[in-house]
């Protein structure tokens, strides 16, 4: 018998996310993985600044709220404090990870810091009301690119997995999405691997999740899911960008 239940490591409270936002799905996947690996009691999660700032309320494991962009540095501290006993993950958006926190991201990867990063890329700043993100697509209309992202003035989007894959350091980099049942299943596989790598002391593992923001994209939830297929995936191809222990995947 299959019983649909809430993961034990996910708090039994309602989340503040907008209808159609995929944060809830990714939170659930992280919690399912923590349950399945039996690591809730030793896991410490780091929440970012952005829409998922209050993720610290949604997981039942110990949680830390970091300053904007600094989660990988905070995670480094928590991990180094007790490398054998602490399982540490950060949960960060694109503004947090790829703009203000780029230095912390790149150097944690370069050091192959043994942590897990869940990177939510929805191509926009959600919490502050829909401004241009480092990952906003060329031509994308946002509050701070009202005429569409002009690459001559604002430059091009940052492709995080591609960029980090040029480094010797990181163990595992994969880009997934959650806009269909099949995609969700695949995303869970990637997230589980990113945690398992840490347990196995393999090092820095980052899963980039192409996500929706129907509210700030100005779309229905359904159209937002379609927009991932039509606009985001062509610019940000899904797949494994680095998997050092399984060379055939590279």
């Amino acid at each position: 018998m299959v019983v649909f239940d809430k993961p034990k490591s996910l708090a039994d409270i309602s989340m503040h996310y907008c209808p159609g936002c995929t944060h809830g799905i990714v939170h659930r996947l992280v919690a399912e993985v923590i349950d399945e690996l039996g690591i809730e009691g030793k896991t410490i999660g780091i929440a970012p600044v952005g829409c998922s700032v209050m993720a610290y309320n949604y997981f039942n494991c110990d949680m830390i709220e970091a300053a904007h962009g600094r989660a990988p540095a905070v995670a480094t501290g928590v991990k180094r404090a007790n490398p054998d006993e602490h399982i540490v993950f950060t949960y960060q958006g694109d503004g947090d990870l790829a703009s203000i926190g780029m230095a912390e991201t790149v150097h944690a990867a370069a050091r192959n810091e043994n942590i897990t990063i869940i990177f939510i890329n929805n191509a926009i700043y959600g919490m502050t009301g829909g401004q241009m993100a480092p990952t906003s697509l060329p031509g994308q209309v946002t509050q701070t690119s009202p005429y569409g992202r002009d690459v001559n003035a604002c430059g091009y989007p940052v492709k995080v997995c591609e960029m980090l894959s040029t480094l010797e350091g990181p163990e595992y980099l994969e880009r997934v999405t959650v806009n269909s049942v099949k995609a969700v299943k695949n995303a869970k596989k990637a997230i589980k691997k990113a945690f398992q790598n840490q347990i196995d002391k393999k090092g820095f593992s980052l899963v980039e999740v192409l996500s929706t923001c129907p509210t700030n994209w100005g779309m229905t939830p359904q159209n937002a899911l379609k927009w991932i297929d039509e606009k985001m995936i062509p610019y940000y191809p899904l797949g494994v960008y680095k998997d050092r222990s399984n060379k055939e995947n590279n």
């Binding site: 600094r70 501290g77 404090a81 007790n82």
Partner: protein, 353 residues
Amino acid sequence: MANKVLMKGNEAIAEAAIKAGCKHYFGYPITPQTEIAAYMAKKMPKIGGTFLQAESEIAAINMVYGVSSAGYRVMTSSSSPGISLKSEGLSYLAGADLPAVVINVQRGGPGLGDIQPSQSDYFQATRGGGHGDFHMIVLAPGSVQEMASLTVKGFELADKYRMTAMILADGTMGQMMEPVELDFDVAPAPEKPWATNGTKMQRKHNITNSLSLVPEELEKFNFARYERYKLIEETEALCEEYLMDDAEIAVTAYGIASRVTKNAVDEARKMGIKVGLIRPITVWPFPKAPYEKAAEKVNHIITVELSMGQMIEDVMLATKCKVPVTLCNRAGGMIPSVEQVLEEIKKYAKRGE
């Protein structure tokens, strides 16, 4: 008698931190404090600790935030421009009520300034050191011995009050060598039931956080924090008084300025001038009592500073301007000479006659 070793001030800080049970250090190179990082890089791997050269001062203070969240004693060090970068983290540490020890071996500013000793970060250190209502405990060593002993004290106070203790040193204190005794009776770290170190499935989850979106609640946290600060002001202020009993003029200085001043006071005494020294050892909390006392009996107070005059404001507040307070200073990395301070003392001694 205990064994003494000859050490640089910066090295004394590093060794004292290790003696205080700090096994995690994060830093970024900046003159004139890099010996601390170099010392930690050598020692930490040998004691199973962490030395990590962070990618920036910002990353270093956030690594400190992580270790402290997990309940361990932790330290970072820098010099003035680097402390400005850390100020975001200092505010978050305060907001999350986390203990940490931060060293500032001050150099001349503003901006990139120079690499010579300075005391021009006094305002930054004593007024909080970042955005929002908060304080750090700020200890101001006046010798290499105090570089060590106040570092140990810093760890104890940080844990006791769940806040940052800053060692406010200067380039001279960091670089000069003096004999130092390193046998300390260190208070063990208290239990930290708030630590985010894994629930072990035995308690509700802990959250380390400085976000509090309900203003009524945030206000409550701030008032509670200032109750704690009040207690610290009442019980933790430290000061040395030198030849103040019969003094008609008081000179006040901390750190390297106090060393120069003490010599000037001795010279003035030889000339028959009744002058004494008040040397704050904590600059936050500021030791008000000796100044209140002095204000009742001296004719004049001189503050000697390696800045354009910052501590002088605390002296005026502590004395409620009952006596004239004037500044004797050098800035931009320069140190007042004994002669300069002596001339200043003589000036006001004459007026007193």
